[in-house]
């Protein structure tokens, strides 16, 4: 028998607390370049950020039946997120307890058991070890919870969005989300049955740090410049620039849209105030996409006075709802930020589709979803590629070690620039970088206070 207890506490290995003075790296108005470039900071983030807070894992509609699974990552940890045979959502470590091989090598599927391809250890989809080949070769019974798969100890859903955390001290998910739930609710509630289902994704990656994507997510300052080609493209038939993101064409701070920081790193760029609140108003600014005129004529013919609402369902919702650290709800997309290394990031833009929950769309729901697929392909193809290029060029620029600072002080120190809500949220003009500053305050707090993370093996 081994001399160590099987369930001993984790060894103090890993760099959750590299030797930085975080106050020196994150100032009120700027951050040091190493937060984007240092491998040891990235390694610490994978536990202090991605282990310490609730992290988005998957959407319930990706695993609609018992035994369905998807493979994802929590930071760099490979996970199988599933509904077990009793319907419980779990996030199992995709790592055989024997020698460490991944158990499941498919992106998605359905399975009651997972058998390791290497030596045949088999696990139930609860994580429990079901059996090993030739057990008489082991001196003790392996049916001991320490040989069950590790799993994320806390997995909770908020209205279809499944999150997990390794931090036993984290607040309840609803409390972690806090006031960002309101725009999430509104985003969902515009759909029949107040829900959407996730479909295939537009999958992109860039050679840059993951925070460059998160920093960008509520940034109203970059749009007119980073996306100039898209703005020109969207309006190439119109002299008066009325399509797509054209509310950025003048000074964005003169428009009624705003940016809001909610706390816990969550923020929101709300462009809805630029659009009239009436059925059909979203449709009128929707950019041109394949099949658009067919779709509109068909919907108007079939639905008559109810057409504007249906047309809006295929149109992009003008919001960016950003849930720290990795969930960006924008337009009709559920975008997930997946760190790969300090200088590599995947951004996966899951498309969403409408469900005819109330039964009043009939066959038009298929037309709506077909066109909604086309509208969702537009921004990843013509917008995100330019942002991702700029993220990569930031990463190149940050290679200069003695040019140390990255500024995010737009709006700072201007009297009357912000309003603070009863819920503590901070609201400012659309181009303001207040959300970045506040998020980095939270980042600093999390990095300076490594969580006591836990995994669970009891099923």
């Amino acid at each position: 028998m081994p001399s160590h207890p099987l369930n001993q506490a984790p060894l103090p290995i890993g760099r959750t607390n590299p030797d930085y003075d975080w106050d020196q790296l994150v100032h009120e108005d700027r951050v040091h370049r190493v937060v984007y470039t240092a491998p040891d900071i990235f390694e610490a983030e994978m536990t202090n950020i991605f282990g310490g807070v609730w992290v988005y894992l998957a959407h319930e509609s990706q695993i609609p039946r018992n035994d369905d699974y998807v493979t994802v990552r929590l930071g760099l940890r490979p996970l199988i997120v599933l509904r077990d045979s009793s319907g419980k959502y779990r996030a199992l470590y995709n790592r055989c307890t024997h020698r460490g091989a991944t158990l499941c090598r498919e992106a998605s599927g359905s399975a009651k058991v997972f058998q390791c391809a290497y030596h045949g250890w088999t696990f139930m989809n609860t994580g429990e070890l079901r059996g090993v080949p030739w057990p008489e070769g082991y001196a003790s019974d392996l049916r001991n919870s320490c040989f069950n798969l590790a799993q994320v100890p806390r997995v909770e859903s908020y209205r279809g969005f499944i999150f997990g955390t390794l931090n036993p001290d984290a607040p309840a998910l609803a409390d972690y989300l806090g006031p960002v739930r309101e725009p999430i609710d509104e985003w969902l509630d515009r759909h029949p049955g107040s829900r959407v289902v996730v479909r295939d994704a537009n999958r992109l990656k860039f050679h840059g740090n993951w925070k460059l994507a998160y920093d960008n997510s509520a940034d109203g300052y970059h749009v007119k410049f980073s996306h100039r080609s898209l703005l020109e493209m969207e309006n190439r038939f119109k002299a008066d620039n009325e399509k797509g993101m054209s509310f950025y064409k003048d000074h964005p701070d003169d428009a009624p849209m705003y940016v809001r920081y909610f706390g816990n790193g969550h923020h929101f760029k709300d462009k809805r105030p630029n659009v009239e609140k009436r059925p059909g108003a979203l449709w009128e600014i929707e950019g041109l996409a394949p099949g658009m005129e067919f779709f509109e004529e068909e919907i108007r013919k079939r639905l008559g006075e109810n057409a504007p609402r249906a047309l809006d369902l295929a149109s992009s919702e003008p919001v960016n709802i950003n849930v720290f650290p990795n969930l960006l709800i924008l337009g009709n997309h559920i975008q997930v930020i997946e760190p790969v290394s300090v200088t590599e990031t995947n951004t996966t833009w899951y498309a969403t589709a409408v469900v005819d929950e109330d039964g009043d769309l009939g066959e038009t729901v298929d037309l709506i979803n077909a066109f909604r697929m086309r509208t969702q392909e537009g921004f990843p193809a013509f917008g995100e590629v330019d942002d991702a290029t700029n993220f990569e060029e930031i990463q190149r620029g940050l290679a200069a070690p003695e040019d140390e600072w990255v500024y995010m002080h737009r709006g700072l120190g201007i009297p009357g620039r912000f309003t603070t809500g009863a819920d503590g949220s901070i609201t400012g003009p659309a181009t303001d970088e207040v959300f970045m500053r506040e998020t980095f305050k939270e980042w600093k707090r999390l990095m300076a206070n490594p969580p006591a993370i836990e995994i669970r093996r009891e099923v």
Binding site: S229, G291, E293, R374, F382, D386, N390
Partner: protein, 195 residues
């Protein structure tokens, strides 16, 4: 085909019927018994596919667009087994107008993902020509090895293409170009070129 609308300006032709025909046409077409033996047709089809590759590599996008039928599609499915574009997003699903959007965007001087622009070699091989019947459009299968150099980095993208061709006013034109990337369901870096 309807001619009432200019497909460069409005997109009426991408209809539910169009999608249904597209999905049917790109289903089970690679049958040995449908391989075209007529050397003249095979040569014409191959010449068009090679010319298309050359014009892309020369960045001659306006000329490249003339190879497509007025009502056309450029389609990069997001699943290796293909997918129904009515149901799922694709890596790209461009109609005539969106193809022209793409070309327009590159000309704005602000398409940062293509500044500096990609240098490409579309290496096309294994060309086979299929036809389901005497008047049916041609279906051309080819393999694609696409070398790209941009901003200091080189990469290789590979896959296979299906070109659906028809004669319009006596000239072979592309009705649909489908590109099946090996990495179609993986995260792609800067997919801002035409594959």
């Amino acid at each position: 085909m309807s001619t009432a609308h200019d497909p460069s300006r409005t997109s009426h032709y991408i209809s539910d019927t169009y999608y249904a025909d597209l999905v049917a046409a790109f289903g089970d077409w690679q049958r040995d018994e449908n391989i075209v033996s007529d050397p003249a047709i095979r040569a014409a089809a191959e010449a068009l596919v090679l010319r298309e590759a050359r014009l892309l590599d020369l960045h001659a996008y306006r000329d490249w667009l003339t190879l497509f039928a007025p009502e056309c599609a450029y389609w990069v499915p997001g699943r290796p087994e293909g997918s129904d574009p009515r149901r799922e997003v694709s890596v790209a699903f461009f109609d005539r107008r969106r193809l022209e959007d793409h070309v327009h965007r590159l000309s704005t001087g602000a398409a940062w993902s293509q500044i500096p622009r990609s240098r490409t070699v579309h290496a096309v091989s294994n060309v086979e020509v299929f036809r389901a019947g005497n008047d049916a459009p041609l279906m051309v299968r080819s393999n694609l090895m696409l070398s790209e150099f941009r901003a200091g980095d080189s990469r290789l993208i590979s896959g296979w293409c299906a070109h659906r061709l028809a004669q319009i006013d006596g000239k072979w034109r592309i009705l649909v170009k489908q590109v099946n990337l090996l990495e179609c369901n993986q995260n792609l870096r800067n997919p801002s070129i035409v594959f």
